[in-house]
């Protein structure tokens, strides 16, 4: 596929009907993987389709989400934050209250049940901030499966508490020193492991990215966020929100919130990318705002890359958003104009982190703080009578050391 240089997108009637049979969201997605893995991704696709249609599987998943993860997560009216901005009413979808402290567990629970169903006996995963690694290690402990988590050596250093948590949960954390030693390199190493251990290993991808069927599967498992939020806001306000907002790295928490609202034309959709030190500095992680389409990790999507097509390092204070790509469904939603992708810098996100702590008594993950950072503009645009739902995708305890360092404090 040629990279779509001049997208002339057709707006579909049904946004929820994607991907197509080839795993494509418009020009994006697909299965660009080494031949050794093709039979495995085909098997996974078939196994997932069967599980998705199986009421027994869905009931088992629902049971674990209720009793183990703690769903539904609350939709909380952030009264003081609303008053602070003086615009639209702000509701927070409290994914940080899930077991393990982020939305990541929703997907991990779904995929671990699928892995068991497929008879896989070894789990591998990649992680950036460590949230997905912790969630994966957690479900592996719960089901007694050995777990190897690949994590960039740089991230191991800046997310030490999560590394320790994974070890406590029985997982082996393998620091990755190749390339830029961050999330993309951890994903390369996980793929290398998978291609080497094809018979027993299940690769539990944490983002709505990578090769088909991962983007659709992860989205489906995360879409419980949006389904609950939709029901909860209808109950609280008697109507749909005017806007939904989430941070976007690979984009799993965002697509989980967005997807059930895609066909509600009156609901504006905002993703917030990590602008790092600023989009104009070149040191950021904003694939849509600062990249262009290409192929990496099995899919066609927006990527940070040089003129030649070499992948560039992403830069963000948030390890969870520090990825040079974005899930293919976001790439497509951007091109067709259904969602708007904004960005927030490290500094703006740190300010939003502190503000939420002070006004609402909630420490947000620094990832989620990127979404919070765009509330001034979004609440203003939506206006005083409006309603905004923001996905508070993770809790911020893991970030206190990094935040302190940026504030020049010692703890």
């Amino acid at each position: 596929m040629n990279a779509p240089s001049n997208p002339s997108p057709v707006r579909p009637n049904d946004y929820s009907a994607y991907p197509d049979a080839n795993g494509r969201f418009g020009d994006y997605g697909g299965q660009y993987v080494p031949e050794t893995l093709m039979p495995l991704v085909h098997d996974l696709d078939a196994a997932y389709s069967a599980a998705k249609a199986d009421e027994g599987f869905q009931a088992e998943l629902a049971g674990f989400l209720t009793h183990y993860v703690g769903r539904p997560s609350p939709l909380y009216f952030a009264e003081r934050l609303t008053a602070h901005y003086g615009g639209a009413k702000i509701y927070l979808k409290r994914e940080e209250l899930n077991h393990t402290g982020s939305h990541k567990i929703n997907n991990c629970m779904g995929q671990i049940l699928l892995a068991r169903r497929m008879g896989k006996t070894r789990i591998i995963a990649e992680t950036g901030a460590g949230q997905h690694g912790v969630a994966t290690a957690t479900v592996c402990a719960r089901f007694g499966l050995p777990c190897v988590v690949y994590m960039g050596a740089v991230d191991v250093e800046r997310q030490k508490p999560n590394v320790f948590r994974m070890n406590l949960l029985g997982a082996e954390v393998r620091p990755v020193t190749s390339g830029s030693a961050t999330l993309k390199d951890a994903m390369n190493e996980a793929l290398r492991d998978w291609v080497t251990n094809v018979h027993d290993t299940y690769y539990l991808i944490g983002s709505a990215a990578g090769m088909h069927p991962y983007p659709v599967m992860v989205r489906d498992f995360q879409a419980i966020i949006g389904r609950e939020a939709r029901e909860q806001i209808l109950e609280a306000e008697g109507r749909l929100p005017d806007a939904v907002v989430a941070c976007v790295g690979g984009g799993s928490n965002a697509i989980g919130l967005f997807h059930p609202f895609l066909n509600d034309a009156e609901v504006k959709i905002f993703g917030v990318e990590a602008a790092g030190e600023g989009l104009d500095t070149g040191r950021h992680a904003a694939a849509i705002n600062g990249g262009r389409p290409g192929v990496l990790h099995g899919n066609m999507t927006y990527l940070l890359q040089d003129r030649e097509g070499q992948i560039e390092e992403a830069h963000s204070i948030s390890a969870g958003l520090d990825y040079p790509g974005i899930g293919p469904e976001h790439a497509w939603l951007h091109d067709v104009g259904r969602a708007t992708y904004l960005s927030a810098t490290d500094t703006e996100s740190l300010e939003a982190y502190s503000l939420l702590a002070k006004l609402e008594g909630i420490l947000p993950a620094i990832e989620s703080a990127h979404a919070l950072a765009r509330l001034p503009e979004i609440t203003k645009e939506v206006g005083k009578d409006g309603i905004v739902v923001l996905n508070l995708s993770g809790r911020g305890d893991k970030d206190v050391a990094a935040v302190a360092a940026h504030l020049g404090m010692e703890i």
Binding site: Y32, P34, L191, N197, V295, E308, G309
Partner: protein, 277 residues
């Protein structure tokens, strides 16, 4: 014209009753000038075909040796166009040795698939292997390479069952590359006895010569594979020689070519006194 070069080489080797030795090197490793010298010396050292890698920042199917080779090359400024320049330079001095480019999809997409196919043909490239472009995604690339008369060479692997092989061999030409182990390049060792039935299967499905690569490091192993396959590919062991020579401050070209000679000799003598396959 280029497909013909691969076919002619395999036909000649079949007449000689021996397998081909295929040398893989990375373009620009350790630098463009040295890589050009290595390339030029490969046929005389015994390489029957040459695979020339074009470096990518995120080579997900490569083990550490080729990852590091790509990093050395990128650090020294190698590009896809630079790789094509190397190919052109090689072709100016050698009109018979098939030259195959091997790399990852993003650089080709960035270049433009049709432009890439045309440029490759112009540079005297005979075939292309794209590691992360399976048949499902290869339609436009296959069309463009067909139009440019360059072979699209596909990979078959230990995970390819008979049904999958049918998909793989469709629209492939020149030869099929059998990846002898499930894994990345240059880590696990290939076992000739295990590989033999798969080679036969791939040959039957494709009607094409079968090259075996991934995990062949020594002359002994190369000879064993040469008894069961139509071609033996060695890559990681060669780029490791480059890395060591750079580190020890030795003559890189001489060291790589001497390794090529010993491997080629082993491949050439593997079937002496044996009935041909």
């Amino acid at each position: 014209m280029s497909k013909a070069r691969i076919d002619a080489r395999f036909a000649a080797l079949k007449a000689e009753g021996r397998a081909a030795f295929v040398a893989y090197v990375m373009a620009g490793d350790p630098d463009a000038a040295t890589a050009a010298k290595i390339l030029a010396g490969l046929p005389a050292a015994g390489a029957d075909l040459i695979e020339l890698g074009f470096p990518f920042s995120d080579p997900m199917a490569e083990g550490p040796p080729i990852q590091r080779a790509a990093q050395r090359a990128l650090k020294n400024g190698m590009t896809l166009q630079g790789t094509l320049d190397l190919a052109r330079g090689f072709r100016a001095g050698d009109v018979t040795t098939p030259l195959i480019l091997m790399g990852y999809m993003n650089l080709i997409v960035t270049c433009g698939i049709e432009a890439f196919a045309r440029d490759a043909a112009d540079a005297g490239v005979d075939g292309v292997i794209v590691v992360d472009c399976p048949p499902e995604e290869a339609g436009p690339l296959a069309d463009a390479l067909d139009a440019a008369q360059v072979s699209l060479i596909r990979l078959a692997t230990p995970t390819s069952d008979d049904l999958r092989l049918k998909t793989i061999v469709r629209r492939t030409s020149g030869f099929v590359y059998y990846v002898s182990v499930a894994g990345v390049t240059g880590v696990k060792e290939a076992d000739a006895a295990e590989v033999a039935p798969h080679v036969a299967r791939v040959r039957a499905a494709s009607g094409l010569p079968v090259a075996v690569g991934f995990g062949i490091k020594t002359p002994e192993r190369a000879a064993a594979i040469a008894r069961v396959a139509d071609a033996v590919v060695v890559g990681s062991a060669l780029v490791d020689e480059i890395a060591e020579a750079v580190e020890m401050n030795e003559d890189v070209t001489q060291r790589v070519l001497s390794k090529v000679s010993s491997l080629a000799k082993a491949v050439r003598s593997a079937r002496v006194g044996q009935t041909t396959v």
